[in-house]
């Protein structure tokens, strides 16, 4: 392989490495951003519609799968945090459903 070829290979492998690093960094941030936006609604839980609550609970379930494969400490912290907000959404949804039945 000539020097031009080696340079191309070097640049290509560099780009590939950068892509992998950026992708994993983005992936890492992505679930945390999702987590924050999902749990950010907990202050408004009582004002949310049943459809909105169901959607948030589904998001919590999706996030749970992602968090379960993280490092031990991250798992411990974020599963606890997720459980707190998911339990609240489930709870508010159940109360709303009960209220609807009573009407």
């Amino acid at each position: 392989m000539d020097s031009k070829g080696r340079l191309k290979l070097f640049i290509l492998s560099g780009c590939l490495c950068l892509f992998i690093i950026l992708q994993s960094a983005y992936g890492e941030d992505a679930w945390r951003t999702d987590f924050n936006s999902t749990c950010a609604q907990s202050n408004d839980a009582m004002a949310l519609s049943m459809a909105e609550l169901k959607m948030l609970i589904e998001q919590c379930d999706r996030l749970q799968k992602i968090i379960e494969v993280q490092d031990e400490t991250v798992r411990k912290v974020y599963l606890k945090r997720l459980q707190l907000c998911k339990n609240l959404y489930v709870f508010v949804l159940e109360s709303k459903m009960q209220e609807q039945k009573q009407k």
Binding site: Q41, N43, V74, V77, K80, R81, L84, C85
Partner: protein, 265 residues
């Protein structure tokens, strides 16, 4: 003679059983000790004294929610099972105690280390308390002198302290807390007292949600979001259930009846 020995034996065994069954009357904590939590999941295994966590130091700067929701600390001592490794990764105590975070002009000391020198060990014992610290006790009394007085607990009316602007607990930690919508404060409501002549309870959502958020209490501590869903007795509260999760341990004790049973008769 045999009769006397037999009687003495019965008396000793009886006293022993009574002692172990009922226990000693709980010692009322001193103002300085009220709200202290001893955490000993792994400390002694690692050759360190248990951690003594003082709520009074932390609650003047942060709301309950920051630590018990955003950082992920459980509501009972030892339930979180924090490891030194967790702190070193920047979680739990290490969220702030990382040697980098600033508090005003002061750098918050680093929490744990894999190896430490004799000099650094002084930092370890700030949390892994070997014995009662006279310096910390002094700090407490100097701090409490500036705060509105309270008869019970640690002698500080924290609610009034915040109202007067003497403490400003932070509800958000950059990079840790998620941005939340402003809380829509639900109005206060009255709960009927079960004892004749005892004023009804006024439950203030405002006081509770501002410091705790919703998810800290519902549904783990209070199963109902609607008034009257959860029925509880003072016995259960004194056993540490419902309001007793915080009141008696960190928040003002339940023996301060008038703080809750406050509806004018």
């Amino acid at each position: 003679m045999r009769k006397i020995i037999f009687m003495a034996l019965v008396l000793m065994i009886g006293t022993g059983i009574a002692w172990s069954a009922q226990g000693m009357k709980k010692k009322k904590p001193l103002p300085y000790e009220f709200g202290s939590v001893t955490i000993n999941n792994y400390s002694q295994q690692a050759g360190m004294p248990p951690v003594v966590f003082d709520h009074w130091i932390h609650r003047q700067y942060y709301t309950c929610r920051v630590c018990h929701v955003d950082i992920g600390f459980g509501m009972t001592a030892g339930s979180t099972k924090v490891r030194a490794a967790d702190n070193m990764k920047g979680y739990f105590c290490g969220t702030c105690h990382n040697g980098k975070t600033m508090h005003g002009k002061n750098r918050i000391f680093d929490s744990c280390a894999r190896e430490y020198s004799r000099e650094e060990y002084k930092r370890c014992v700030q949390c892994h308390a070997l014995e009662r610290s006279a310096a910390k006790e002094d700090d407490f009394y100097r701090f409490s002198e500036r705060m509105p007085n309270e008869k019970f607990g640690n002698g500080i009316n924290w609610e009034l302290a915040e109202e007067k602007g003497l403490i400003k607990p932070v509800d958000y930690l950059e990079g840790v807390s998620g941005k939340k919508a402003n809380l829509k404060v639900t109005s206060d409501f009255a709960l009927k007292a079960k004892v004749e002549g005892m004023p009804d309870i006024i439950f203030s959502h405002k006081k509770h949600t501002v410091w705790n958020g919703c998810e800290l209490c519902h549904p783990d501590i209070f199963i109902g979001v609607k008034k009257g869903t959860t029925r509880y007795s003072m016995v259960e509260l004194f056993e540490g259930k419902y309001c007793g999760v915080c009141h008696d341990k960190v928040a003002f004790p339940q023996t301060d009846c008038q703080r809750c049973h406050s509806k004018p008769v």
